[in-house]
Every structure is written in structure tokens, then in C-alpha cells.
């Protein structure tokens, strides 16, 4: 398990401070706006940026402790990283790239090269030169290469950046399966709140060079101080995946239910196509800058947020403490 205590790293004028514990087996999400320091954090964990203060440990082993002059170089850390831009070696084929990782693994990887390639869906590409690959294929090859290097923890820096909607969903599912089957702890950087909700067991919230919250994803993502990290259109709440009738991603840890996807009814609705109808109670109502209202609801699966217009609020005369029904359309998530 990765543990950072008052870890501090400086890059030019930028300073990042972090204290957190990553998930021992599962996926730790690293979420925050662009430029908040997510990539710097990952590079520091991989040993590519030296820390200037604090301590970083993996299990019982101290990786960084500038106070006692400890800095384990990247090649001795057993910390794998998949970069946003894949960084495949141009003079090697896909197979050559995978073998590069496998050859240097300190212990046998969970699967053979062929098996890894098959699971990640790059087995048909093995003999291609890397310059002939698409963005999505490159990301997959980089992931396979990192897994074959048998890291103790695998870091992924916005692995979805090069991917569009459907390919991105496929990659999320792939990561969840790999985490389960390879039993390899992962830290995944993303600035998409949906991805963070689906992937993360634990979550680090990063803002302006500081880890402002870390803990179980449900707790961090539904806390009030998580909202400033979000775009207004992304406001919402994280629910456990099992509570939403969709069935697509059984491995998903959670779903992000955007406030724009939630309806409020003051009577029990009947004859709706929506399958998620929960009886709950209004915890609070806030007026937003744009004139709309954000309604916080306590419902059986967890807290929810709903965005309604001011005329809707007046028509339903909603108030805190009132009993309501919240309706979520599965496909709107």
C-alpha cells in the first residue's frame, strides 16, 4: 500500500503537498481539475520527481524520505506507470515493447506476454510497428507493457485522454477487470467525474497543488468540499453501482448521478419508464448563480442532488425536510 506523509514536491514555481493512503488491493482514483497537480503526484510516486519533504512508503519500504536522504530510483521501485501519451518505444514492435517490460520484471508477471496481450486486446497487433497504431491501441499496449513489468502498484495518468466515449467506457471496464483478475493495486488519474466514480474504491481529491481529501470514494465524492472541484454541469452524487438498474458494468464501484439527471416528484409517480424511483427526504435547497436550484435529497441508496428550475421549485413549493420521490433515468447516467 502506498502511503504519503506530508509529501512535498516542487516543479519550478509549482508546489504539491500530499498526505494519503492508497487502496491496498483496489483502485484509488486521483481526481481534480487540469493543472491541479495530479500528474506531478503520479510522477513523484513513480520516482521521476524527487520529493523535497515528507515521506513516501510502499508497504514497509520507504521510497522517499528527503529528510534522511532516501530516494529509490524509478527502476528499483516496482511502481509501474502508464502515461497519458503511451510513450511506446519507436524502434521496437508491439511485441518488442511488451517484452521490454517483461524482461525487466523483478518477478514473474501474473500472465505471460501472450495472455496479457489477449486480455488487453492487443494480441492481433503484436507484430506491428508502434507508429501504425491508433491512440486507443497505443494506450492498451502501454498498459500491457506496464502490467508485464510486474509492478507492485500500477499508476495510470489519464489513460482515457486519447479515447472517445465508447472506447473510454471499454477501457474503464478493462481496468476494473484487470484490477480484479491480476490483483494489482492501481491509482488512476482522471478529470472525468464519471470515471472516478466507476473506478475508485478510494479517492484522492486534488486541488491547486494539494490533496484536499482522501478516503473511501463514497465519502470523499459526496462531501461538501468535493463540489468546488467540479464543473457546474457535473454537480451530482456518487451512488453504489448496484443501486442503479443498468446491469452494464457489474464490476463498477459506483456511478455518478448528475444533478441534471434527477427528477423530483411530490407524489409517488406511476406509469413511468424510469426504473429508479426512490422515496426520500429533502435535506436542503440552494439557489445557484444561474437562477436554478440544487436540491439535496437523502434517499435509500444514498445522498442525491437534483437540479430544478426556480418555477419548478415554486410550483412544487419544495422545502427542506419535505418527503419527495426522486426519479433517475438509468440511461441518463
Amino acid at each position: 500500500m502506498l502511503r504519503a506523509e506530508n509529501l512535498c514536491v516542487r516543479r519550478g514555481a509549482f508546489e504539491l503537498r500530499a498526505s494519503f493512503e492508497a487502496d491496498e488491493q483496489g483502485v484509488t482514483g486521483v481526481f481534480g481539475p487540469s493543472g491541479s497537480g495530479k500528474s506531478v503526484l503520479l510522477r513523484t510516486l513513480a520516482g521521476l520527481h524527487p520529493a523535497v519533504e515528507g515521506r513516501l512508503a510502499l508497504g514497509d519500504e520507504t521510497l522517499d524520505a528527503p529528510g534522511s536522504r532516501v530516494h529509490t530510483p524509478p527502476h528499483r521501485r516496482g511502481v509501474g506507470i502508464v502515461f497519458q501519451d503511451a510513450r511506446l518505444f519507436p524502434h521496437l514492435s508491439v511485441r518488442g515493447n511488451l517484452a521490454y517490460g517483461a524482461k525487466r520484471a523483478p518477478r514473474p508477471a501474473v500472465w505471460t506476454l501472450e495472455e496479457t496481450a489477449r486480455r488487453i486486446g492487443v494480441d492481433a497487433l503484436l507484430d506491428r510497428p508502434v507508429r501504425a497504431l491508433s491512440g486507443g491501441e497505443k494506450s492498451r499496449v502501454a498498459l500491457a507493457r506496464a502490467i508485464l513489468s510486474a509492478p507492485r502498484v500500477l499508476l495510470l495518468d489519464e489513460p482515457f485522454a486519447a479515447l472517445d466515449g465508447r472506447a473510454r467506457r471499454g477501457f474503464v471496464t478493462l481496468l476494473l477487470e484487470l484490477n480484479r483478475d491480476a490483483r494489482m493495486p492501481m491509482m488512476v488519474v482522471t478529470h472525468q467525474v464519471e470515471d472516478a466514480a466507476e473506478l475508485s474504491d478510494r479517492l484522492l481529491a486534488v486541488k491547486s497543488g494539494a490533496v484536499i481529501a482522501s478516503g473511501p470514494a463514497a465519502q470523499v465524492m459526496n462531501a461538501p468540499d468535493f463540489r468546488p472541484l467540479l464543473d457546474v454541469r457535473d454537480f451530482g452524487a456518487r451512488l453504489p453501482a448496484a443501486s442503479v438498474a443498468r446491469g452494464a458494468d457489474t464490476a463498477a464501484r459506483g456511478v455518478w448521478v448528475r444533478a441534471d439527471a434527477v427528477l423530483i416528484a411530490i407524489e409517488e409517480p406511476r406509469g413511468l419508464s424510469a426504473q429508479n424511483v426512490w422515496n426520500g427526504r429533502i435535506r436542503g435547497i440552494e439557489r445557484e448563480a444561474a437562477g436554478s436550484f440544487l436540491v439535496s435529497v437523502d434517499a435509500p441508496p444514498g445522498p442525491l442532488q437534483a437540479r430544478i428550475t426556480s418555477s419548478a421549485r415554486d410550483a412544487l413549493s419544495l422545502e427542506a425536510g419535505q418527503e419527495i420521490w426522486a426519479v433517475v433515468k438509468s440511461h441518463a447516467i
Binding site: G47, H75, F83, P90, H91, R145
Partner: protein, 228 residues
């Protein structure tokens, strides 16, 4: 087509240029790598030293070699006493003089390739478990291979034509240190030797052109590989 004497001259030239290359290539790779590191202390001084043979008169380079590597020079006498190696006025000496003169060509070509290599690829290799030496041999060198080859061919072609430093340090001994340019010079010093000088000149031209065309093709291949 060629007389026996011309074959010997061509053979001496090729052997001197090849030996010069074999001697200077590993050092040039090391120097190019060092010079491509932005944090190297004293980089500009080192860079200037490497490029000195380009700007100094070749005769002076030969003379300086003679002072250092001659039998009474500090390095020359040590080599002779310790290993029994004599460089001045020998084929080995001609190779050394050629190596010094063509060193900057090699370094320049290889260094550019090292500088173009994406440092982020080395970070990626490190996180895959490759240490510094491993990264050099598994990434930096193979990626620079086309430039190393092109530089080697150019340096070899230039080595075939080296004159001033060679004649000063290794003299003009037929069958030993008499390379093509030295033989041309001898022919011109001989009354009625113009025809012979022209024949040897043609030979030089063919050898150098072949080398340069090879270098150009390799260079294009390298640029294509870097761009993709």
C-alpha cells in the same frame, strides 16, 4: 584496371580510415552522449575541444600529435616503454591522426540524434525497471543507430581524404602510411606525374562519393524514423 601500386595505396587508405573509425567511434558515442546532457559541467569547453580539429590547420594538429605521441612526447614515450607501441610515422599513427581529424564529424552527427531522443521515453523505460546503463544500451543507442551509421560513413569518407595531419604525424611511407591524398601529393611532386595524380584523384572521388551517398541515404532513413 588498377596497377599493383594503386591497389596498395587504396588498401592503405581503406585500412587507415577503417582503423581510425574503429578507434574513434566508441569515444565519439561517449562524447556525443556527454555533450547531449544539458547539465554536463563545462559542456561548452568540452564542446570546443572536440571541435578544435575543424578550425585548427591540419598541419598544426599533426604537429601537436607529434609533440604528444612522438617517441619523445609524454604519451608516445610511455606507450613505447609500456606496450612497445610506436605511433609516429606508422600506419597506426596515420589512423590516429585521421581519427582526431574526423572525430568532430562523428560527434556532431551522433549528438544531434541523442538530443532529439524524447527524454520521456527514458522515464518510461526507468519505470519499467531499466537502470541508466540499460536505458543507454536498450533505448538511446538503438534509437540513434541510423545517425551513428550515417556519421560513421561520413567520417570514413572524410578519413579517406585526410592529408595535413597524417603527413605531418605519420609521414608519407609507401605501403605503410601513404594514403590516396598523400600519393596524389607525391605524384604531383614527380615530374610528369600529373596523369597518375588524376587517376588517383578519380579513385578518391569515387570512394568519397560512394561514402557520401550511403551517408545521405542513412540520414534520410534516420529522419523518417525520428519523425514517425
Amino acid at each position: 584496371m588498377l596497377s599493383e601500386q594503386e591497389w596498395i595505396i587504396l588498401g592503405t587508405s581503406l585500412s587507415v580510415a577503417l582503423r581510425a573509425l574503429a578507434f574513434s567511434l566508441p569515444l565519439a558515442i561517449a562524447a556525443a552522449w556527454a555533450l547531449s546532457r544539458p547539465k554536463l559541467p563545462g559542456r561548452s569547453v568540452f564542446d570546443a575541444l572536440v571541435h578544435l580539429p575543424v578550425v585548427l590547420p591540419p598541419v598544426l594538429v599533426g604537429f601537436l600529435l607529434l609533440l604528444a605521441f612522438g617517441r619523445r612526447g609524454p604519451i608516445g614515450s610511455w606507450l613505447e616503454n609500456t606496450f612497445g607501441i610506436t605511433l609516429a610515422f606508422t600506419a597506426e599513427g596515420a589512423a590516429l591522426a585521421t581519427a582526431v581529424m574526423t572525430f568532430p564529424i562523428l560527434v556532431r552527427s551522433i549528438r544531434i540524434s541523442f538530443e532529439l531522443a524524447d527524454p520521456e521515453l527514458f522515464d518510461a523505460a526507468a519505470t519499467l525497471g531499466a537502470g541508466p546503463w540499460d536505458r543507454f544500451f536498450s533505448l538511446a543507442l538503438p534509437m540513434a543507430a541510423p545517425a551513428v551509421l550515417a556519421g560513421a560513413v561520413t567520417a570514413f569518407a572524410a578519413g579517406l581524404g585526410e592529408f595535413g595531419a597524417v603527413i605531418t604525424f605519420a609521414a608519407n611511407v609507401p605501403g605503410e602510411t601513404q594514403t590516396l591524398p598523400l600519393a596524389i601529393y607525391s605524384a604531383l611532386q614527380t615530374p610528369g606525374g600529373e596523369a597518375q595524380a588524376l587517376r588517383l584523384g578519380g579513385l578518391s572521388l569515387v570512394a568519397a562519393l560512394a561514402g557520401l551517398v550511403c551517408a545521405e541515404l542513412l540520414q534520410r532513413w534516420a529522419v523518417r524514423r525520428m519523425a514517425s
